[in-house]
Amino acid sequence: FADLADMSLSGDITVEGEITVPVGAPSPDEDFSTLDEPVRETIMRDLKAVGKKFVHVMYPKKSSTLLRDWDLWGPLVLCVSLALMLQGGSADSKEDGGPQFAEVFVIIWFGAVVITLNSKLLGGTISFFQSLCVLGYCVLPLTVAMLVCRLVLLAGAGTISFVVRLLVVLAMFAWSTLASTAFLADSQPPNRKALVVYPIFLFYFVISWMILTFTPQ
Protein backbone atom coordinates (compact mmCIF):
# COMPACT_ATOMS: atom_id res chain seq x y z
CA PHE A 1 0.00 0.00 0.00
CA ALA A 2 2.96 2.30 -0.15
CA ASP A 3 1.95 3.85 -3.46
CA LEU A 4 -1.47 4.76 -2.25
CA ALA A 5 -0.10 6.43 0.85
CA ASP A 6 2.20 8.55 -1.32
CA MET A 7 -0.71 9.67 -3.48
CA SER A 8 -3.12 10.60 -0.79
CA LEU A 9 -0.98 12.72 1.54
CA SER A 10 0.73 14.96 -0.98
CA GLY A 11 -0.78 18.10 0.49
CA ASP A 12 -3.80 20.24 0.09
CA ILE A 13 -5.59 19.72 -3.17
CA THR A 14 -7.02 22.85 -4.62
CA VAL A 15 -10.34 22.69 -6.39
CA GLU A 16 -11.49 25.30 -8.82
CA GLY A 17 -14.94 26.04 -9.89
CA GLU A 18 -18.07 27.98 -9.17
CA ILE A 19 -20.78 27.31 -6.77
CA THR A 20 -24.06 29.07 -7.13
CA VAL A 21 -26.85 28.66 -4.65
CA PRO A 22 -30.11 29.75 -6.19
CA VAL A 23 -31.90 32.03 -3.81
CA GLY A 24 -35.44 31.46 -5.01
CA ALA A 25 -37.89 34.30 -4.88
CA PRO A 26 -40.73 33.32 -2.56
CA SER A 27 -43.44 31.72 -4.81
CA PRO A 28 -46.77 33.55 -4.85
CA ASP A 29 -48.55 30.61 -3.17
CA GLU A 30 -46.43 30.77 -0.10
CA ASP A 31 -47.27 34.40 0.47
CA PHE A 32 -50.93 33.61 -0.07
CA SER A 33 -51.57 31.89 3.21
CA THR A 34 -55.25 31.34 3.70
CA LEU A 35 -54.88 30.60 7.36
CA ASP A 36 -54.95 34.23 8.42
CA GLU A 37 -57.80 35.52 6.36
CA PRO A 38 -61.28 35.84 7.81
CA VAL A 39 -63.63 32.90 7.20
CA ARG A 40 -65.99 35.11 5.27
CA GLU A 41 -63.33 35.72 2.63
CA THR A 42 -62.66 32.02 2.19
CA ILE A 43 -66.31 31.22 1.77
CA MET A 44 -66.93 34.14 -0.57
CA ARG A 45 -64.06 33.06 -2.80
CA ASP A 46 -65.55 29.61 -3.26
CA LEU A 47 -69.04 31.02 -3.69
CA LYS A 48 -67.79 33.42 -6.33
CA ALA A 49 -66.12 30.57 -8.20
CA VAL A 50 -69.34 28.58 -8.14
CA GLY A 51 -71.35 31.60 -9.21
CA LYS A 52 -69.01 32.32 -12.07
CA LYS A 53 -69.48 28.78 -13.32
CA PHE A 54 -73.25 29.12 -13.13
CA VAL A 55 -72.99 32.19 -15.33
CA HIS A 56 -70.79 30.26 -17.75
CA VAL A 57 -73.41 27.57 -18.05
CA MET A 58 -76.20 30.03 -18.74
CA TYR A 59 -74.16 31.73 -21.45
CA PRO A 60 -72.07 28.88 -22.81
CA LYS A 61 -69.00 30.15 -24.56
CA LYS A 62 -65.96 28.03 -25.06
CA SER A 63 -63.97 29.06 -22.06
CA SER A 64 -61.49 26.94 -20.23
CA THR A 65 -62.35 28.31 -16.80
CA LEU A 66 -65.06 25.77 -16.23
CA LEU A 67 -62.73 22.99 -17.19
CA ARG A 68 -59.59 24.13 -15.46
CA ASP A 69 -60.85 24.99 -11.98
CA TRP A 70 -63.33 22.22 -11.51
CA ASP A 71 -65.31 21.91 -8.34
CA LEU A 72 -68.22 19.72 -7.36
CA TRP A 73 -70.05 22.13 -5.04
CA GLY A 74 -72.31 23.39 -7.78
CA PRO A 75 -73.36 19.94 -8.98
CA LEU A 76 -74.04 18.86 -5.41
CA VAL A 77 -76.25 21.86 -4.68
CA LEU A 78 -78.11 21.40 -7.98
CA CYS A 79 -78.58 17.68 -7.48
CA VAL A 80 -79.88 18.04 -3.94
CA SER A 81 -82.29 20.85 -4.85
CA LEU A 82 -83.58 18.94 -7.89
CA ALA A 83 -84.07 15.77 -5.85
CA LEU A 84 -85.88 17.72 -3.12
CA MET A 85 -88.16 19.42 -5.60
CA LEU A 86 -89.01 16.08 -7.18
CA GLN A 87 -90.45 14.81 -3.94
CA GLY A 88 -94.18 14.65 -4.33
CA GLY A 89 -94.78 14.97 -0.65
CA SER A 90 -96.94 11.85 -0.62
CA ALA A 91 -97.07 10.67 2.97
CA ASP A 92 -98.10 7.16 2.03
CA SER A 93 -95.29 6.21 -0.30
CA LYS A 94 -97.22 4.38 -2.95
CA GLU A 95 -95.26 1.88 -4.96
CA ASP A 96 -95.54 3.44 -8.36
CA GLY A 97 -94.95 7.05 -7.50
CA GLY A 98 -92.23 9.32 -8.66
CA PRO A 99 -88.55 8.79 -8.06
CA GLN A 100 -87.35 8.75 -4.50
CA PHE A 101 -84.67 11.16 -3.33
CA ALA A 102 -82.00 8.48 -3.44
CA GLU A 103 -83.04 7.41 -6.92
CA VAL A 104 -82.61 10.91 -8.33
CA PHE A 105 -79.25 11.22 -6.61
CA VAL A 106 -78.07 7.88 -7.94
CA ILE A 107 -79.29 8.57 -11.45
CA ILE A 108 -77.53 11.90 -11.66
CA TRP A 109 -74.22 10.88 -10.15
CA PHE A 110 -74.05 7.37 -11.54
CA GLY A 111 -75.15 8.64 -14.93
CA ALA A 112 -72.48 11.33 -14.92
CA VAL A 113 -69.81 8.80 -13.91
CA VAL A 114 -70.85 6.39 -16.65
CA ILE A 115 -70.82 9.11 -19.29
CA THR A 116 -67.38 10.26 -18.16
CA LEU A 117 -66.05 6.70 -18.28
CA ASN A 118 -67.59 6.29 -21.69
CA SER A 119 -65.90 9.38 -23.05
CA LYS A 120 -62.56 8.41 -21.54
CA LEU A 121 -62.78 4.89 -22.93
CA LEU A 122 -63.50 6.29 -26.36
CA GLY A 123 -60.26 8.21 -26.17
CA GLY A 124 -61.26 11.56 -24.73
CA THR A 125 -58.59 13.75 -23.20
CA ILE A 126 -60.65 15.37 -20.49
CA SER A 127 -60.00 14.42 -16.90
CA PHE A 128 -62.52 12.51 -14.81
CA PHE A 129 -63.50 15.27 -12.41
CA GLN A 130 -63.56 17.98 -15.04
CA SER A 131 -66.15 16.01 -16.95
CA LEU A 132 -68.19 15.35 -13.80
CA CYS A 133 -68.03 19.06 -13.05
CA VAL A 134 -69.31 20.06 -16.49
CA LEU A 135 -72.11 17.51 -16.53
CA GLY A 136 -73.18 18.49 -13.03
CA TYR A 137 -73.19 22.22 -13.70
CA CYS A 138 -75.18 21.77 -16.91
CA VAL A 139 -78.06 20.40 -14.85
CA LEU A 140 -78.71 24.05 -13.89
CA PRO A 141 -81.19 24.80 -16.72
CA LEU A 142 -83.17 21.70 -15.81
CA THR A 143 -83.28 22.72 -12.15
CA VAL A 144 -84.65 26.07 -13.25
CA ALA A 145 -87.22 24.18 -15.33
CA MET A 146 -88.21 22.14 -12.29
CA LEU A 147 -88.73 25.33 -10.30
CA VAL A 148 -90.90 26.79 -13.05
CA CYS A 149 -92.89 23.54 -13.29
CA ARG A 150 -93.62 23.52 -9.59
CA LEU A 151 -94.78 27.12 -9.74
CA VAL A 152 -97.00 26.41 -12.76
CA LEU A 153 -98.46 23.36 -11.01
CA LEU A 154 -99.39 25.57 -8.05
CA ALA A 155 -101.62 27.48 -10.43
CA GLY A 156 -103.38 24.43 -11.78
CA ALA A 157 -102.86 21.03 -13.40
CA GLY A 158 -104.85 21.23 -16.60
CA THR A 159 -103.89 20.93 -20.22
CA ILE A 160 -102.58 24.48 -20.55
CA SER A 161 -100.27 24.01 -17.59
CA PHE A 162 -99.07 20.79 -19.18
CA VAL A 163 -98.31 22.52 -22.47
CA VAL A 164 -96.44 25.29 -20.69
CA ARG A 165 -94.46 22.77 -18.69
CA LEU A 166 -93.68 20.76 -21.80
CA LEU A 167 -92.34 23.78 -23.63
CA VAL A 168 -90.25 24.93 -20.70
CA VAL A 169 -88.76 21.49 -20.12
CA LEU A 170 -88.02 21.02 -23.81
CA ALA A 171 -86.26 24.36 -24.01
CA MET A 172 -84.18 23.72 -20.91
CA PHE A 173 -83.33 20.21 -22.06
CA ALA A 174 -81.99 21.60 -25.32
CA TRP A 175 -80.06 24.25 -23.42
CA SER A 176 -78.46 21.71 -21.07
CA THR A 177 -77.45 19.39 -23.86
CA LEU A 178 -76.02 22.18 -26.00
CA ALA A 179 -74.16 23.71 -23.07
CA SER A 180 -72.50 20.48 -22.03
CA THR A 181 -71.70 19.59 -25.63
CA ALA A 182 -70.10 23.00 -26.12
CA PHE A 183 -67.79 22.36 -23.20
CA LEU A 184 -67.03 18.70 -23.78
CA ALA A 185 -66.94 18.34 -27.53
CA ASP A 186 -63.45 19.65 -28.04
CA SER A 187 -61.79 17.03 -25.93
CA GLN A 188 -63.12 14.14 -27.99
CA PRO A 189 -61.50 12.48 -30.99
CA PRO A 190 -63.17 13.95 -34.07
CA ASN A 191 -64.68 10.83 -35.59
CA ARG A 192 -66.34 9.75 -32.35
CA LYS A 193 -68.09 12.93 -31.33
CA ALA A 194 -71.56 11.53 -31.95
CA LEU A 195 -70.73 8.47 -29.86
CA VAL A 196 -69.89 10.74 -26.93
CA VAL A 197 -72.75 13.21 -27.36
CA TYR A 198 -75.51 10.60 -27.54
CA PRO A 199 -75.18 9.38 -23.91
CA ILE A 200 -75.23 13.02 -22.74
CA PHE A 201 -78.45 13.47 -24.69
CA LEU A 202 -79.92 10.34 -23.07
CA PHE A 203 -78.87 11.51 -19.60
CA TYR A 204 -80.57 14.88 -19.85
CA PHE A 205 -83.57 13.26 -21.53
CA VAL A 206 -84.10 11.01 -18.53
CA ILE A 207 -83.82 13.94 -16.13
CA SER A 208 -86.24 15.96 -18.27
CA TRP A 209 -88.67 13.05 -18.27
CA MET A 210 -88.56 12.90 -14.47
CA ILE A 211 -89.26 16.64 -14.32
CA LEU A 212 -92.07 16.56 -16.85
CA THR A 213 -93.90 13.63 -15.28
CA PHE A 214 -93.80 15.12 -11.83
CA THR A 215 -97.28 15.16 -10.38
CA PRO A 216 -97.92 16.39 -6.87
CA GLN A 217 -99.98 13.92 -4.89
Binding site: G97, G98, G123, N191, W209
Partner: protein, 296 residues
Amino acid sequence: FAEFDDAADLLAANPDATTISIDEPSDIPKNKHGRLQQSGREEDDELLGTDDSDKTELLAGQKKSAPFWTFEYYQTFFDVDTYQVLDRIKGSVFPVPGKNFVRLYIRSNPDLYGPFWICATLVFAIAVSGNLSNFFIHLGKPTYHYVPEFRKVSIAATTIYAYAWLVPLALWGFLMWRNSKVMNIVSYSFLEIVCVYGYSLFIYIPTAILWIIPQRVVRWVLVVFSLCLSGSVLVMTFWPAVRDDNRRIALATVATIVLLHALLAVGCLAYFFDAPELDFPAPIIPVHNGTTVITK
Protein backbone atom coordinates in the same frame (compact mmCIF):
# COMPACT_ATOMS: atom_id res chain seq x y z
CA PHE B 1 -59.58 -17.20 -54.51
CA ALA B 2 -59.60 -18.63 -51.02
CA GLU B 3 -56.09 -17.31 -50.32
CA PHE B 4 -57.06 -13.90 -51.59
CA ASP B 5 -59.88 -13.88 -49.11
CA ASP B 6 -57.51 -14.85 -46.29
CA ALA B 7 -55.06 -12.11 -47.14
CA ALA B 8 -57.83 -9.59 -47.46
CA ASP B 9 -59.22 -10.59 -44.11
CA LEU B 10 -55.84 -10.52 -42.42
CA LEU B 11 -55.26 -7.07 -43.82
CA ALA B 12 -58.73 -5.99 -42.91
CA ALA B 13 -58.59 -7.24 -39.33
CA ASN B 14 -56.02 -4.67 -38.34
CA PRO B 15 -56.84 -1.36 -40.02
CA ASP B 16 -60.48 -1.15 -39.35
CA ALA B 17 -61.08 1.73 -41.69
CA THR B 18 -60.59 -0.47 -44.70
CA THR B 19 -62.64 -3.34 -43.41
CA ILE B 20 -65.81 -2.82 -45.39
CA SER B 21 -64.23 -1.57 -48.57
CA ILE B 22 -62.01 -4.57 -49.03
CA ASP B 23 -64.85 -6.96 -48.48
CA GLU B 24 -66.95 -5.84 -51.41
CA PRO B 25 -64.59 -6.34 -54.34
CA SER B 26 -63.80 -9.83 -53.16
CA ASP B 27 -67.50 -10.62 -53.07
CA ILE B 28 -68.07 -9.90 -56.73
CA PRO B 29 -65.71 -12.45 -58.26
CA LYS B 30 -67.01 -15.00 -55.81
CA ASN B 31 -70.56 -14.46 -56.89
CA LYS B 32 -69.63 -14.64 -60.53
CA HIS B 33 -67.97 -17.98 -60.12
CA GLY B 34 -70.66 -19.20 -57.80
CA ARG B 35 -72.51 -21.02 -60.53
CA LEU B 36 -69.49 -22.79 -61.94
CA GLN B 37 -67.94 -23.92 -58.68
CA GLN B 38 -69.74 -25.40 -55.75
CA SER B 39 -71.93 -22.44 -54.83
CA GLY B 40 -72.93 -24.07 -51.56
CA ARG B 41 -69.32 -24.22 -50.48
CA GLU B 42 -68.77 -20.52 -51.18
CA GLU B 43 -71.82 -19.67 -49.16
CA ASP B 44 -70.42 -21.81 -46.39
CA ASP B 45 -67.18 -19.89 -46.50
CA GLU B 46 -69.01 -16.63 -46.11
CA LEU B 47 -71.06 -17.91 -43.23
CA LEU B 48 -68.37 -19.92 -41.49
CA GLY B 49 -65.20 -18.06 -42.22
CA THR B 50 -63.68 -21.52 -42.36
CA ASP B 51 -60.09 -20.68 -43.00
CA ASP B 52 -60.12 -17.45 -41.07
CA SER B 53 -61.46 -18.38 -37.70
CA ASP B 54 -58.04 -19.49 -36.45
CA LYS B 55 -56.35 -16.41 -37.78
CA THR B 56 -58.94 -14.02 -36.47
CA GLU B 57 -58.64 -15.65 -33.07
CA LEU B 58 -54.87 -15.15 -33.18
CA LEU B 59 -55.18 -11.56 -34.25
CA ALA B 60 -57.77 -10.87 -31.59
CA GLY B 61 -55.29 -12.21 -29.06
CA GLN B 62 -52.61 -9.91 -30.39
CA LYS B 63 -54.76 -6.84 -30.08
CA LYS B 64 -55.76 -7.15 -26.45
CA SER B 65 -52.28 -7.36 -25.07
CA ALA B 66 -52.62 -4.94 -22.16
CA PRO B 67 -53.08 -6.62 -18.79
CA PHE B 68 -56.65 -6.62 -17.59
CA TRP B 69 -56.11 -4.33 -14.65
CA THR B 70 -55.04 -1.38 -16.77
CA PHE B 71 -57.34 1.17 -18.32
CA GLU B 72 -55.90 0.53 -21.78
CA TYR B 73 -57.27 -3.01 -21.76
CA TYR B 74 -60.81 -1.72 -21.55
CA GLN B 75 -60.14 0.96 -24.11
CA THR B 76 -59.61 -1.76 -26.70
CA PHE B 77 -63.29 -2.60 -26.37
CA PHE B 78 -64.31 0.91 -27.33
CA ASP B 79 -62.14 1.17 -30.40
CA VAL B 80 -64.94 2.03 -32.78
CA ASP B 81 -65.80 5.10 -34.78
CA THR B 82 -69.24 6.58 -35.29
CA TYR B 83 -69.69 5.16 -38.76
CA GLN B 84 -68.74 1.67 -37.57
CA VAL B 85 -71.38 1.73 -34.87
CA LEU B 86 -73.94 2.98 -37.37
CA ASP B 87 -72.97 0.26 -39.84
CA ARG B 88 -73.36 -2.41 -37.19
CA ILE B 89 -76.76 -1.09 -36.24
CA LYS B 90 -77.79 -1.07 -39.88
CA GLY B 91 -76.56 -4.63 -40.24
CA SER B 92 -78.67 -5.76 -37.33
CA VAL B 93 -81.82 -4.10 -38.64
CA PHE B 94 -81.50 -5.20 -42.27
CA PRO B 95 -80.12 -8.72 -42.07
CA VAL B 96 -78.78 -9.79 -45.41
CA PRO B 97 -79.64 -13.44 -45.96
CA GLY B 98 -76.47 -15.43 -46.19
CA LYS B 99 -74.23 -12.93 -44.45
CA ASN B 100 -73.04 -13.55 -40.96
CA PHE B 101 -73.26 -10.48 -38.75
CA VAL B 102 -70.14 -11.30 -36.80
CA ARG B 103 -68.05 -12.03 -39.86
CA LEU B 104 -69.21 -9.04 -41.78
CA TYR B 105 -69.38 -6.32 -39.19
CA ILE B 106 -67.58 -7.30 -36.06
CA ARG B 107 -64.51 -8.79 -37.72
CA SER B 108 -62.55 -9.43 -34.55
CA ASN B 109 -63.20 -5.94 -33.23
CA PRO B 110 -66.09 -6.49 -30.84
CA ASP B 111 -67.06 -3.35 -29.02
CA LEU B 112 -68.91 -2.84 -25.78
CA TYR B 113 -70.21 0.60 -26.68
CA GLY B 114 -73.07 -0.71 -28.80
CA PRO B 115 -74.42 -3.35 -26.43
CA PHE B 116 -74.20 -1.10 -23.37
CA TRP B 117 -75.85 2.00 -24.81
CA ILE B 118 -78.42 0.12 -26.87
CA CYS B 119 -79.52 -1.68 -23.69
CA ALA B 120 -79.63 1.62 -21.77
CA THR B 121 -81.72 3.24 -24.49
CA LEU B 122 -84.02 0.22 -24.62
CA VAL B 123 -84.56 0.32 -20.86
CA PHE B 124 -85.66 3.94 -20.97
CA ALA B 125 -87.61 3.50 -24.20
CA ILE B 126 -89.66 0.69 -22.69
CA ALA B 127 -90.22 2.49 -19.39
CA VAL B 128 -91.17 5.80 -21.00
CA SER B 129 -93.35 4.25 -23.72
CA GLY B 130 -95.09 2.00 -21.23
CA ASN B 131 -95.86 4.96 -19.03
CA LEU B 132 -97.12 7.05 -21.96
CA SER B 133 -99.21 4.22 -23.34
CA ASN B 134 -100.87 3.59 -19.99
CA PHE B 135 -101.55 7.30 -19.69
CA PHE B 136 -103.33 7.42 -23.05
CA ILE B 137 -105.27 4.25 -22.43
CA HIS B 138 -106.62 5.37 -19.08
CA LEU B 139 -107.05 9.01 -20.04
CA GLY B 140 -110.47 10.36 -19.31
CA LYS B 141 -111.39 7.86 -16.66
CA PRO B 142 -112.47 9.74 -13.58
CA THR B 143 -110.77 7.38 -11.14
CA TYR B 144 -107.43 7.43 -12.89
CA HIS B 145 -104.59 9.35 -11.30
CA TYR B 146 -101.41 9.50 -13.33
CA VAL B 147 -98.32 8.11 -11.67
CA PRO B 148 -94.86 8.11 -13.27
CA GLU B 149 -94.27 4.45 -12.28
CA PHE B 150 -90.61 4.97 -11.66
CA ARG B 151 -90.15 1.55 -10.06
CA LYS B 152 -90.54 -0.04 -13.44
CA VAL B 153 -87.35 1.56 -14.71
CA SER B 154 -85.23 -0.49 -12.34
CA ILE B 155 -87.14 -3.63 -13.21
CA ALA B 156 -86.67 -2.97 -16.92
CA ALA B 157 -82.98 -2.29 -16.40
CA THR B 158 -82.43 -5.51 -14.49
CA THR B 159 -84.28 -7.60 -17.03
CA ILE B 160 -82.66 -6.21 -20.12
CA TYR B 161 -79.13 -6.11 -18.83
CA ALA B 162 -79.50 -9.62 -17.43
CA TYR B 163 -80.73 -10.82 -20.80
CA ALA B 164 -77.99 -9.07 -22.71
CA TRP B 165 -75.18 -10.44 -20.53
CA LEU B 166 -76.30 -13.69 -18.90
CA VAL B 167 -77.79 -15.31 -21.99
CA PRO B 168 -74.59 -14.73 -24.02
CA LEU B 169 -72.61 -16.11 -21.09
CA ALA B 170 -74.72 -19.24 -21.01
CA LEU B 171 -74.60 -19.59 -24.77
CA TRP B 172 -70.85 -19.12 -24.85
CA GLY B 173 -70.38 -21.73 -22.13
CA PHE B 174 -72.62 -24.12 -24.00
CA LEU B 175 -70.78 -23.58 -27.29
CA MET B 176 -67.42 -24.06 -25.61
CA TRP B 177 -68.66 -27.31 -24.09
CA ARG B 178 -69.92 -28.59 -27.44
CA ASN B 179 -66.71 -27.45 -29.05
CA SER B 180 -64.76 -29.74 -26.81
CA LYS B 181 -66.92 -32.67 -27.83
CA VAL B 182 -67.40 -32.00 -31.51
CA MET B 183 -64.65 -30.32 -33.47
CA ASN B 184 -66.59 -27.26 -34.45
CA ILE B 185 -65.31 -25.09 -37.21
CA VAL B 186 -66.62 -21.80 -35.99
CA SER B 187 -66.28 -20.53 -32.48
CA TYR B 188 -67.10 -17.10 -31.21
CA SER B 189 -65.46 -15.31 -28.35
CA PHE B 190 -67.63 -14.21 -25.45
CA LEU B 191 -67.45 -10.56 -26.46
CA GLU B 192 -68.54 -11.30 -30.00
CA ILE B 193 -71.63 -13.05 -28.68
CA VAL B 194 -72.38 -10.14 -26.35
CA CYS B 195 -71.94 -7.82 -29.32
CA VAL B 196 -74.39 -9.75 -31.51
CA TYR B 197 -76.98 -9.87 -28.78
CA GLY B 198 -76.56 -6.20 -27.97
CA TYR B 199 -76.93 -5.03 -31.54
CA SER B 200 -79.80 -7.41 -32.20
CA LEU B 201 -81.77 -5.67 -29.44
CA PHE B 202 -81.69 -2.42 -31.37
CA ILE B 203 -84.83 -3.20 -33.38
CA TYR B 204 -86.81 -3.34 -30.13
CA ILE B 205 -86.25 0.38 -29.53
CA PRO B 206 -88.51 1.67 -32.32
CA THR B 207 -90.82 -1.27 -31.61
CA ALA B 208 -91.19 -0.15 -28.00
CA ILE B 209 -91.97 3.37 -29.12
CA LEU B 210 -94.57 2.13 -31.58
CA TRP B 211 -96.16 0.00 -28.86
CA ILE B 212 -97.67 3.23 -27.53
CA ILE B 213 -100.38 2.72 -30.13
CA PRO B 214 -103.15 1.13 -28.09
CA GLN B 215 -104.28 -1.48 -30.61
CA ARG B 216 -103.76 -5.14 -29.88
CA VAL B 217 -103.35 -6.14 -33.50
CA VAL B 218 -100.75 -3.45 -34.17
CA ARG B 219 -98.76 -4.47 -31.12
CA TRP B 220 -98.67 -8.14 -32.00
CA VAL B 221 -97.77 -7.44 -35.62
CA LEU B 222 -94.88 -5.35 -34.32
CA VAL B 223 -93.78 -8.15 -32.01
CA VAL B 224 -93.73 -10.68 -34.82
CA PHE B 225 -91.98 -8.31 -37.22
CA SER B 226 -89.19 -7.29 -34.87
CA LEU B 227 -88.78 -10.86 -33.66
CA CYS B 228 -88.29 -12.00 -37.25
CA LEU B 229 -85.66 -9.37 -37.95
CA SER B 230 -83.57 -9.70 -34.84
CA GLY B 231 -84.16 -13.42 -34.56
CA SER B 232 -82.86 -13.92 -38.08
CA VAL B 233 -79.68 -12.05 -37.20
CA LEU B 234 -79.14 -14.36 -34.25
CA VAL B 235 -80.02 -17.49 -36.18
CA MET B 236 -77.73 -16.66 -39.06
CA THR B 237 -74.94 -16.00 -36.63
CA PHE B 238 -75.27 -19.11 -34.54
CA TRP B 239 -76.42 -21.69 -37.05
CA PRO B 240 -72.94 -22.15 -38.55
CA ALA B 241 -71.54 -22.63 -35.07
CA VAL B 242 -73.78 -25.55 -34.21
CA ARG B 243 -74.67 -27.17 -37.49
CA ASP B 244 -71.80 -29.60 -37.42
CA ASP B 245 -73.08 -30.93 -34.17
CA ASN B 246 -75.72 -33.54 -33.56
CA ARG B 247 -78.77 -32.46 -35.57
CA ARG B 248 -81.14 -32.43 -32.66
CA ILE B 249 -78.82 -30.45 -30.39
CA ALA B 250 -78.24 -27.91 -33.14
CA LEU B 251 -81.95 -27.41 -33.72
CA ALA B 252 -82.63 -27.27 -29.98
CA THR B 253 -79.97 -24.61 -29.49
CA VAL B 254 -81.26 -22.38 -32.24
CA ALA B 255 -84.84 -22.89 -31.08
CA THR B 256 -83.87 -21.89 -27.52
CA ILE B 257 -82.17 -18.73 -28.75
CA VAL B 258 -85.25 -17.68 -30.67
CA LEU B 259 -87.57 -18.67 -27.84
CA LEU B 260 -85.69 -16.59 -25.26
CA HIS B 261 -85.70 -13.63 -27.60
CA ALA B 262 -89.44 -13.96 -28.11
CA LEU B 263 -89.95 -14.33 -24.37
CA LEU B 264 -88.17 -11.03 -23.78
CA ALA B 265 -90.34 -9.19 -26.26
CA VAL B 266 -93.63 -10.67 -25.11
CA GLY B 267 -92.71 -10.32 -21.45
CA CYS B 268 -91.90 -6.62 -21.85
CA LEU B 269 -95.11 -6.06 -23.76
CA ALA B 270 -97.19 -7.81 -21.12
CA TYR B 271 -95.59 -6.21 -18.08
CA PHE B 272 -95.00 -2.62 -19.10
CA PHE B 273 -97.95 -2.02 -21.38
CA ASP B 274 -101.47 -2.40 -20.06
CA ALA B 275 -103.90 -4.18 -22.30
CA PRO B 276 -105.74 -1.72 -24.48
CA GLU B 277 -109.37 -1.78 -23.59
CA LEU B 278 -112.08 -2.34 -26.09
CA ASP B 279 -113.44 0.70 -27.77
CA PHE B 280 -117.03 0.88 -26.60
CA PRO B 281 -117.87 3.19 -23.72
CA ALA B 282 -118.61 1.63 -20.37
CA PRO B 283 -122.21 0.42 -20.34
CA ILE B 284 -124.45 1.44 -17.51
CA ILE B 285 -126.57 -1.42 -16.25
CA PRO B 286 -129.56 -0.56 -14.12
CA VAL B 287 -129.64 -2.91 -11.16
CA HIS B 288 -132.94 -4.09 -9.63
CA ASN B 289 -132.95 -1.93 -6.57
CA GLY B 290 -132.63 1.20 -8.61
CA THR B 291 -128.96 2.08 -8.30
CA THR B 292 -126.87 2.07 -11.41
CA VAL B 293 -123.65 0.18 -11.67
CA ILE B 294 -120.95 1.14 -14.07
CA THR B 295 -118.98 -1.82 -15.31
CA LYS B 296 -115.67 -1.70 -17.09
